[in-house]
Subunit: 199 residues, 4 copies
Amino acid sequence: MMPEPPPPNARRSIGAQRNPASAEAILSAAEALLSEEGYGGFSIEKVARRARAGKPTIYKWWPSKAALLLDVYQRQKSIEMPDTGRLEDDIIQFIDAILTHWRETPAGTIFRSVVAEAQSDETAGAALSDFATEREADTGFLIWRGLERREVRDDIRPAEAARWIVAYLWYRLLTGQLAAPGMTRADVRILVGGLERRP
Amino acid sequence: MMPEPPPPNARRSIGAQRNPASAEAILSAAEALLSEEGYGGFSIEKVARRARAGKPTIYKWWPSKAALLLDVYQRQKSIEMPDTGRLEDDIIQFIDAILTHWRETPAGTIFRSVVAEAQSDETAGAALSDFATEREADTGFLIWRGLERREVRDDIRPAEAARWIVAYLWYRLLTGQLAAPGMTRADVRILVGGLERRP
Amino acid sequence: MMPEPPPPNARRSIGAQRNPASAEAILSAAEALLSEEGYGGFSIEKVARRARAGKPTIYKWWPSKAALLLDVYQRQKSIEMPDTGRLEDDIIQFIDAILTHWRETPAGTIFRSVVAEAQSDETAGAALSDFATEREADTGFLIWRGLERREVRDDIRPAEAARWIVAYLWYRLLTGQLAAPGMTRADVRILVGGLERRP
Amino acid sequence: MMPEPPPPNARRSIGAQRNPASAEAILSAAEALLSEEGYGGFSIEKVARRARAGKPTIYKWWPSKAALLLDVYQRQKSIEMPDTGRLEDDIIQFIDAILTHWRETPAGTIFRSVVAEAQSDETAGAALSDFATEREADTGFLIWRGLERREVRDDIRPAEAARWIVAYLWYRLLTGQLAAPGMTRADVRILVGGLERRP
DNA sequence: TATTAAGCGAGACGGTACGTCTCGTCTTAGA
DNA sequence: TCTAAGACGAGACGTACCGTCTCGCTTAATA
């Protein structure tokens, strides 16, 4: 009935300050859980069990499932921008690198979870919206470099153009089309070349 | 101990066949619930209560939450294809019509729910993937008409081009950017005209 | 979507230990429910509702309906052994006291429920069997005192003789013959005096 | 969606009259179900499935689970009264014969189910009470023959004395003490000889 | 050096929802 | 008119999580 003393090797409080080992254990457990069971099998309860952490400890630092998911996603390593010297190839390589990353690491599952969570949690929704804007800006660098190289039309604004790329990436993820070799090249040709017949 | 007989005006069995009134009541209740409380407040339990239906009746016909959500979404009325005589305006009007539809009817919330559900339910995932392909084909009609009118480059394949449009629509929905007047026009200009500097 | 916090006056956790107030509320609710609706109207669901307790709280401490019923029965106050100085009167008074107790308090309904439950639940079956043995031993005290007083034949073993009394009590309960004044006296005469014609 | 035609070998209506084959199939299915799964696994639903009968057909002829259980019990073959020429042996043999019957055929399980059902169903309760009275009368025959043989005290009334025997039998059944060789002999000695020390 | 204050694990708590089972009623289609 | 079939509203089953609360311990910062 009385609480057992914890096993001697357990993490304990380190005083009136956050224990980084706990935060680390929780994030790792969440990541592992997501990659093993996906969003459907993800719960704070399981994370706590796996991390040997108390639920209130989790809620204290991440007030919602969404917050924890976002933190887990932020931990994933980011993708380097390719530099082939040619816009079209840059975009293709960038897209394929991200799709591969999503396919071969937990990152894809984690991000799908964030998107799902954002549909029912307003905080996550706002965070996702901000994140999207940020991705547009980052990705805009590819376009900006194309402008520098005078490959891209002068009236193109990098972030707006990048919006198409980000949307396309999410769409591939959410529809489960992460692995479709060749698809990217054809699709990117359309975006880069436009739809209009040239005079 | 004995189950109460239902009130005399309740829906009853109409024999060894599905009662369409129940199906209707369930779908309506689900739609109303989604539009009032969103995906987060959606549960089979609440749908059953609201529809005055038994849970087993729901599970009998829609084996998962995803199946019910998809059926609710299919009930939404579809959008007519605009025909302005000009590809760019067709696309802009089409996108804005859908965004408006999503913003002003429950359809947006419902579809966000379907997407969320698809991230944890494999069946819904497959259905969403199929649905996406279907939308690409439908939307491809706009491009095809542009080909007919010789507005569009000969080497463009309608469904592939349409994929960009569908992805863009989903992205606007999922990031909560349903109402951004003017945004669509600028973005579509990029897709239609392409990124490349003309020689 | 978010679970409502319980009303401020509700029972809450008192830490990582069982809250006796909850246990008490649950047992009381179960007892009240049984006495009002009988075994047929008894369900864990109703007990939880009535006790304002969560179902999992009940299942945590009483893993089956049978366990809860047995605990509720154990809470009933026990009957004092009469001491009239004469075996036959002791037995009659004992039997009538128990029948009255069963008739005028929830105890009778509760014990009938335990017996019923024991017919489909193995745990309850074993518990009932143990309980019966215990009752035989307890009731044997009446016989033992008769032996002490040299009223009872030397070769009688108290618990065996008491088995007849316990069986008789259960039979009266299960056949709904709790109130039949005079019946007990005649029946007990048979047990005490035996069937055999004396030489 | 439309109901399948039944398999060609199914029992069908034989017109505007009760089909005895259905009644038989239902009773057999109920008996088999009880003996295989016990009272806990017994349900009208399963009986109907097993008998390939419609639930309304069952409810039409047996208005409650209790009624069906009682009918199933009545179908069991009855036990012959032993005639050893000596009261005590008659009673021992009678008791052991019934316990053996209950132990080795479905009859024991069925009767336990009837008793359990009688604790929540008033109809079954009344039927069980009547049944008990009937058993007392039947069993009284043993005592009556003892009277005839002048083995039994003149003031003993057969049905009352038999009540002890019936109670004892039920008790052995309900506490799961069907198989305890030797127990019966010692216990019956007490009943027959009485508790009182002879002067 | 002693006290306080926060963090920590553990886990109980009131709840909601899950997906399944059975209840007893009802209607149909077919013989 | 009776049958098999099965849909129906109702509601209980036992389990998983939710987010909150309290406990008893541990430790760093403060007094």
